[in-house]
Amino acid sequence: MSDLVIVGNGPAAVAAIERFRSLDSRSRVTLVSKEEVPFYSPCPLAEYVEGSVARERLFLRPASFYDDHGVEFLAGATAVGLDRGALVISRAGAVRSIAWHKLLVATGAVAARPPIEGLEGTAGVFALKTLSDAEGIIALSQRARRAVVIGSGFIGLEAAQALRRLGLDVTLIEALDQVLPQMLDVDLAEIVRSRLEANGVKVLCSALVRAIESEHGAVRAVRLDTGVIAADLVVIATGVRPDLRWLAGSGIATDQGILVDASMATSVPGVWAAGDVAQAPAWDGRHRLIPTWPNAVSMGSIAGVSMAGGDTRHGGTDIVNVVRVFGMAVASFGERGNGESHDFAGAGARRRVLIRDGRISNGQFIGDISGSGALLEMMRKGVDVSRLGDKIARPGVGPAWSMPRPPKPGRHAA
């Protein structure tokens, strides 16, 4: 019997442990992790693939982390079922159950597998989600010559860029009519597309992948509606989603992810959820699934406090994304397509801020992303910016307007 069982070993789990232990040093804590390796950051995986970040840099805590925090670490143990009081795990082929008093689900998300013929079981087809995915790509990239990346979200772009830098011939395929469809309006996406093409990535938009063709079990080509592209390495980057199958029958309310309130509590007493798996109230109060690192850390911290008996609320998760496209920074926040757009164009920079009912609803930045965090803060606070007009998109405007208003100049007491 463990007082607290944590399922998952990503940033949400680690933030929860650190916060929980700062408040509770007595409870017995067990952590169950599907992967064998200790906690690592997935965010620099593309840099690891291209060789600019060394493997040991991915591990953000010392090897003694689990011992230091009094956590029993069950590596290579996959949670396969849950009911009141018992977590069923599978480890090295053996299935057993662990009794729990409190439980945190922090299992993150898995790479989506689109229904493409020949995708399953073909060697040379990878996601870029876990360390083992990255290691598979690295091993094959040493003899592969032609890569196809399916999906042009930020992970697809990072994969394409890393493989290009390794000297492979890279084709990026997107089903919609633009790259970065979640982050950018179509005209701004054109700038990103040109940047990719200028750096040798072939970009095919409005292209539907029909099948992965193989030879002796290994990928040979990718078949589209419009033709066939030879490939000996394929990266699937069509988004991530939580895997909730093992929670069937647990009674935990789910939608796209596990539904939690602002304290990260699920519908079942004694069970909390945090990170990519959790669908929590966002800045606008709506329950949203927003799989980012900052959200995972902040949700994990809140869960840690809640599980230690503290009373705390998350201020709302954010949609914030940033990616570098061959050195060019591209960032966005909020939801696009909803409001009146204000633009700024400068040397090597394009900035767009959408205003709806006097308030910021979305920001898109290329080349100059400075101050974007301040504009995001103004969106969260609902600051009325209507009188600023197009100025809102200028670099340097954000920080000043997110500050408290100073007193009027002239005579005043201190």
């Binding site: 965010c43 914030v320 960032a331 101050g371 974007s372 340097g396 100073p406």
Partner: protein
Amino acid sequence: MQKAIFTLMERCVACKSCEIACAVAHSKSGKVATAQFEEPLPRSRVRITSAGAYSFASRCVHCEEAACIAACPTGAMHREGRTGVVAVDEDLCIGCWMCVVTCPFGAVTADPGTAKALKCDLCAARGAAGLGPACVDACPTGAMVYATPDELAGMRRFATAMASVGVVDGVEESVALWRNLKGGRSI
């Protein structure tokens, strides 16, 4: 208690002396005459921004609950144990810019030259030599004050007292007077 930089917005005349001083303080040579020819060009970590009739030097306020630290996926953005300063470990930084897009004060710059996050470090190097932040010392109007919250409160009380007996007029003059009494520029 730790010292912080406090801003008296009403004093700022947007002369950008702080920006220059910051870039020079973080340059290789540390001298204005040579810093401007360095490659890469030293960059300032404070930026004069304006809000209507006001301007002020916007920079990191070294938050207690720092959004940039929570957002950093490499451990590069961290809090210095001894000083409480929020700083970037350039060896760990991969230039992913998560800190830039999450800092509510717009205080982190994405430096395209080095591809490393750039922010105020409260002049760690000068601090080691017993000096205060370069921007504070360079400000000709005293728009920034480097003090602990207690010192600032004391200064405010002093200012109110001075103003009430008519010795000086308002906060700006009293800060200047307080400084002169303390005999130094960075308090």
